[in-house]
Symmetry: C2
Subunit: 565 residues, 2 copies
């Protein structure tokens, strides 16, 4: 059984002030409470209390991965480049990859993720459909040379990750492995006490269930996502779809307007005295060299990333001044879909059939009003391409969406046969013929989960861990006098004997005030103080989160704390 952890012997140093370079809550508090220290940019040392928290998260992840039949392995972090050259990722990763050579000049990399190596292992170990399915996982140090490591252990260059990979012979098998992971991840984040959302990582057009992200809402997060305050809809902002609602009656005939010097939406709206939302903005782009127009309401921005994903693998570029020279039919600043010939027209679903717009008249200084979609112009493809904004309607229930920041703590992905194709991973099928294997890839940021938990649970006094993750179940504080220390150590041993993990502040020469402040900063969920009434054998039990206090005898305190119900 673990021993009582005495702070007089623990390597810990708490700081009153935030580190100068810390911007996020987890960074400030994990450093101030002595959980971690920075060794280099984005490279962290986990000190005794931090290591305990990291280990607690690891244990939960391991138990739930084992529960879905995951088999734990440990692959190297130092990897020969050949496999990553085969997949193309040796170059694709660019500067994100740490590369090195050994003494013989052979090229290696530090693994950012292990799809290639797992594919090779399974190719070596499995030869028949009878050997599948398998789910393999590891909890391991990963490396990514981030351009801007930030937010403490939230975005490090060396970090702990659980990565797993499923191998199946059928699409149904892959879907099942994916659902097993999805359920396991939800259990993991629930046990960790992490508020989280499962969101589609790509738009419905690419297959809704192919990839989902697990997000932990937190202001320090680098991701934005939308969620509905009314129903359970949540999505990555890039995956939000717009549901067309009822369209008003058709407007009158198209009418040309004289609008000199109004090449921008702002100048046009001001000139006409209409809201920007009444105008139709037409962005010209080149898709694999061909000019394409994209129409969105004048008050919305095109999300180029989203557009690129929709049109991938085609190359999307903005048009240049030179492109206009070659196309006199395209009047810069005054383009409208109604006169465009030989130009593919993509539009946001908001530009639904029957909607009427003020848009360019394809003549210098002229616009047109009452231009109706489906009547005056045709849309070749409807794609969700606008930047999502707070208040956009929920595609499920129509309620105005919220846009929030979050930390990506997990990602599950149906890879399919991409890597099996690269490495020719086949097994002998039931019919005696080779079957290509299909694969899923699933990750949880273990060190990142610690940061996310710190962000979500901390308050203005310091860290405030859920019990399963906390470095101890109870923090016993000896106010200072010999009698109090004696009582604190005695009750600590008794709590330890009852199966609790105990941290006891038995430091000599440290004032009670400093000890109380430290106990709140460190964030163990229950604080038991041997103070004023120690001579009577009475202690004060404080709930770290609520601040509720009650006075208890030793036996009462033990009974209260061991009641895990």
């Amino acid at each position: 059984m673990a021993q009582v952890q005495r702070m007089s012997r623990l390597m810990i140093k708490t700081l009153r002030d935030d580190p100068a370079d810390a911007e996020t809550l987890n960074h400030k508090l994990l450093v101030r409470a002595g959980y971690v220290r920075r060794t280099a940019a984005g490279i962290w040392s986990w000190l005794p209390l931090g290591k305990k928290v990291l280990e607690n998260v690891t244990r939960v992840v391991r138990e739930e991965m084992d529960a879905i039949g995951g088999q734990e392995v440990l692959l190297p972090a130092l990897l020969p480049k050949e496999a990553y050259e085969a997949s193309g990722r040796y170059d694709e990763y660019g500067d994100l990859l740490f590369r090195l050579q050994d003494r013989k000049g052979a090229d290696y990399l530090l693994g950012p993720t292990h799809e290639e190596i797992f594919t090779q292992v399974v190719k070596d170990m499995c030869s028949s459909y009878k050997d599948l399915p398998v789910i393999l996982y590891q909890i391991q140090t990963k490396y990514r040379d981030e351009a801007r490591p930030r937010a403490g252990v939230l975005r490090g260059r060396e970090f702990q990750m659980k990565d797993s990979y499923s191998f199946d012979t059928t699409d149904e098998g892959l879907a099942e492995a994916y659902q097993l992971h999805r359920a396991a991840y939800i259990r993991i984040f629930e046990r960790l006490g992490l508020d989280h959302r499962v969101v589609s990582a790509v738009s419905g057009a690419m297959g809704g269930s192919a990839s989902e992200e697990f997000l932990a809402p937190a202001p320090a997060g680098e991701d934005t996502f939308v969620d509905c305050p009314n129903c359970d809809y949540a999505a990555n902002t890039e995956a939000v779809t717009y549901k067309v609602t009822a369209v008003a009656d058709a407007a009158g005939a198209v009418e040309e307007l004289d609008t000199p010097d109004t090449p921008t939406i702002e100048s046009l709206a001001a000139h006409l005295g209409v809201p920007a939302s009444a105008t139709l903005k037409n962005l010209l782009i080149k898709v694999d060299g061909e000019i394409v127009a994209v129409g969105v309401p004048g008050d919305r921005e095109v999300d180029m990333g989203k557009l690129g994903e929709h049109l991938a693998p085609a190359v999307v570029e903005l048009v240049t001044a030179e492109d206009f020279v070659e196309r006199p039919d395209l009047v810069r600043g005054y383009v409208g879909p109604q006169g465009l010939e030989k130009v593919r027209y993509i539009a946001d679903p908001r530009v639904a059939a029957g909607t009427a717009w003020i848009t360019g008249a394809n003549k210098e200084g002229k616009h047109a009003k009452n231009v109706v979609a489906g009547r005056d112009f045709e849309v070749d493809d409807y794609l969700d391409v606008v930047v999502v904004e707070a208040g956009d309607p929920c595609p499920n229930c129509g309620t105005g969406l919220q846009v929030d920041r979050a930390i990506e703590i997990g990602h599950i992905f149906q890879l399919g046969r991409k890597y099996a194709d690269i490495f020719s991973l086949d097994v002998l099928g039931q019919q005696g013929k080779p079957v290509r294997v299909t694969m899923g890839s699933y990750g949880i940021g273990v060190s990142r989960a610690v940061a996310a938990l710190a962000e979500q649970t901390a308050d203005d006094k310091g860290l405030c861990w859920p019990r399963e993750i906390a470095p101890a179940d109870v923090h016993v504080v000896a106010a200072g006098k010999a009698l109090q220390t004696e009582l604190a150590l005695d009750v600590s041993e008794k709590l330890n004997a009852a199966g609790l993990r105990v941290l006891v502040d038995d430091r000599a020469g440290v004032s009670p005030g400093v000890k109380f402040t430290d106990s709140e900063l460190i964030g163990v969920p229950k604080i038991l103080v041997a103070g004023r009434r120690s001579a009577e054998g009475v202690l004060e039990l404080k709930d770290r989160r609520t601040g509720e206090r009650e006075e208890l005898t030793v036996d009462e305190a033990i009974a209260r704390l061991t009641d895990r119900g």
Copy 2:
């Protein structure tokens, strides 16, 4: 609780033949039994069974480190070069260090051991004598770019290691931390079931207790060590000392011998018809540029490594032909200590005062006999510099020593203030003045311990693990028929419910013979077979090591296996 591990779902592939490149037992068997696979030279993947064994060793190490008050941390493996430049090891390590640059061109290394970084952490965290002593440890991936990675996981370039570091203000504190580690290491290796010896790593002249190695005798080992078949003496060959025994009566007067063309010991001994051991060989070396003579019996070799360690930090080189040109008093091939002036004379303890020798007469073609140490020449320093040989007398009891091969599985070292001096690691002492900290460094090769265990415990059938380390407590084998599989799965669940770790071979379409061979190769200590008498509910329990078998009912088998006494 862990689940029953079904081989039908386990990723395992056993091989009948040894891998072509495998020379050592652990390499052959760990690969054949599906515990590990090679990813690159000296870089290994731990597969499900291998990971379990690795984890079991890790658990034992962690428990015993915690028991001596060690605090677990996790420092990075990717380290900035500055700290290692400060210590000089960035260059000293030479090609053994993996070096790399990040995207900004800053220099990093992959940590081979962490003295520098721990010193910096303690400097940051501890400021008073009250903060010490501390023992910090981590179980972590280490990197060394070995020129010849070999023997499977025994000598890898990426490997798992437990390294710990003690910090004290006094020499007595360091000695105590050292003894705590020594005792913990003995408990660890005993629990692992590793036959081991604790040997002095450096000669007594440097302080006997400053450094000891833990060796696991095994033919695959790269270290040689001596041990006494009579008493408990054991030592690294470089640390063996020679105890001078009684010396015979003095010989007659020095007598010159005509010995033309005898510049070597062999030619001299043949010419005179005496054993080489009757002659005194004088090796000339340069120590920091100064010529020094080293005398050893003619039948022994000088261990240059040992000599270098004795004389460190002086630079030791062999003399060249040019050196003789400048010193006509040194007659090449005919040097004797009796006529040497202004030359420091170092001798092996075997050249004890009173011993008589045939040696060079310092004249071309001449030797001298009856040259007596202490009478005809003086020895400036006695140093143990000869290569130890089997049969050399035990320094304790005089019995002829054995020379054996072993694997270094642990090393404990009183570093003293070397790193504290480099990084100015002081704490405020009891007297209010800064006190320089003293430090110990202690390592256990965790992945290497797995290899050593495999080497020591395997037999001609395969691996044969001690129970605490085995991937399961019992390997249940279903001979093949449906009834047998049913019984095997049933008893497996019952054993699991009784707290045992169970591996069950429930594979369909695999012959009983293959299953039995696999179970012996895999090496779980107890094998329970559901075979011929399954219909009666009778199983056969086999001891993997002894081969003893007995027939038992299900209840008897459970009772037998759960009796851990």
